[in-house]
Point group: C2
Amino acid sequence: MHRGGFLESPTIAYETWGELEGNGDNAVLLFGGLSPSAHAASSPENPAAGWWEDMIGSGLPLDTDRYFIICINSLGSCFGTTGPASIDPLTGERYRLHFPVLTLEDVAEAGYEVLQHLGVEKLYAIVGCSMGGMTGLGFCVRHPEISESLMAISSATRALPFSIAVRSLQREIIRRDPKWKGGDYDPADPPVVGQRLARKLGMMTYRSPEEWEQRFGRERVTAEDHAGNPFYIDFEVESYLESRADRFAGQFDPNCYLYLSRASDLFDLAEHGGSLKSGFKRLRLKRAIVIGVRTDILYPPHQQKELAEGLSEVVDDVRYVPLDCIRGHDSFLVDMDAFRPVLCNFFDTCNC
Amino acid sequence: MHRGGFLESPTIAYETWGELEGNGDNAVLLFGGLSPSAHAASSPENPAAGWWEDMIGSGLPLDTDRYFIICINSLGSCFGTTGPASIDPLTGERYRLHFPVLTLEDVAEAGYEVLQHLGVEKLYAIVGCSMGGMTGLGFCVRHPEISESLMAISSATRALPFSIAVRSLQREIIRRDPKWKGGDYDPADPPVVGQRLARKLGMMTYRSPEEWEQRFGRERVTAEDHAGNPFYIDFEVESYLESRADRFAGQFDPNCYLYLSRASDLFDLAEHGGSLKSGFKRLRLKRAIVIGVRTDILYPPHQQKELAEGLSEVVDDVRYVPLDCIRGHDSFLVDMDAFRPVLCNFFDTCNC
């Protein structure tokens, strides 16, 4: 592991779509955000819709008739990949807080291991969304020879103190839930209250005040929802957060969340060489695109610009695409009309 | 009470500075934010610094040699004024959740009662900061004959869904603390964990990402602070939030906080007549000033503009002063150099 320690025989879950050509001429490696699984799109083996269903498939921007797409469930996560919720083969017990410090460099390295396993020696491109954009940078710094192209979506060179503060508070909220029990919670009875509160806080940074102003305004919930509690729910926006919390809690292992969340805070491209400039200098990219969203609170536009400008110093062909989406950081998951043409253009696919 | 119910013989805590002239020619009524007491400035009776110490006094913008300043501890608060933590004289028990629904109209009405008590029949001006700006609007709508001038600082006509979401989550965090006990907590053992977490969330909206980027960047805490916990504190911004949480928790009664927080969500000038336009039409102001801050997340600049534009329809002399402070919503408490000249100009006091 990047900061010490090791994992005995870890498992890395991944999914692929399309056919590999040669040793990787058409391969695209996709690193996602903090919470998704490797199931980015449906497949015959798993027909459920994936988290980027509208983006990956035949005739879609990541066209599976042409490209071989690989998506990794991040190291430290809980959807098939080894993480704090997994059994440590050396002890027969769950890792829990005995899992070593996790960094995005480790997440990137797990992706590299998958490529080795698949016989992919080079990549057409790396696509990284949110946390995955930093993972992609970490990958390119450590294995500059593999990919000539990088697409960073709503990401950054490193987290801002505001984003660190939000994630730190999310972690503390989970840790303060009595059911967390210092990380030794019963997997059948996890700290769901803390997870729900942390998810609500997350939603405030994944979406935007502007979206909510248009979408909810000051709409009230119907009286039935009050349930006789003077501090339950008055407004539609509160009801929305309830439903989003319900959808998340219980799905994601709390300790895995803590590890991945902290890894997002710890990543800093400047640690690769001592400065951002030297970090960028380690890249061997020939083409890069940085896509950001005006209303992103978590990785705001000035960070996208900083990333694009830093890349411009060392990469010949750099595009910076600021999008005017109102749905904030999560726009790449929900505002397909804005993102589709940018991806199509980059991958020279469908005619958007 | 505005939404039903009543309080038996409530107490309203207030402080005054300066000498009253006539029936109020030189009187200024100050409504503060959610958390402060009536102690806005030091006095012979209480030499401790107040929450607007730099603004109120001899030779200061709110010049006590000329003006008679009155500051109210909001109804529902816990610094001398009757609130959920007070004993209900009818039962001999604390009100707790039996306190009636609190609105800013009630807070304004409590201010009116203080004026009656003091023999103040009119005001030179009302000054309202943050929640107090909405309270001031509520006062002017209900008692349009009292004041010809209003200064609204970092406030709004009503809260946005994002601000509602933040406050709703703060309230839920407190309510989810097992020590809250459905509002029946032991006053000697309140839900401090929930209060601390809620305060940290509050600080994220009281300050600004821009300030924190300049002030903390990615500075790390020294290793000692880790205390062997992998999820304790890595960054200075986390340490800062710890210290701010320490300062607040235990000071403010949790139920009072819940009531005042919800009152901030509920206020809507449009409820006075059915629309914002009709709400504004109930005002009889001759002069108004709206001061806002570019980096305010809680009451963002476009709300200040909306307030100023609405006032312009019915008030002859309206000024809108957008300030370029980087310290967010709290700037009026900490960025005196920016606010002082605006207040001096409005009150025709010291030469800034």
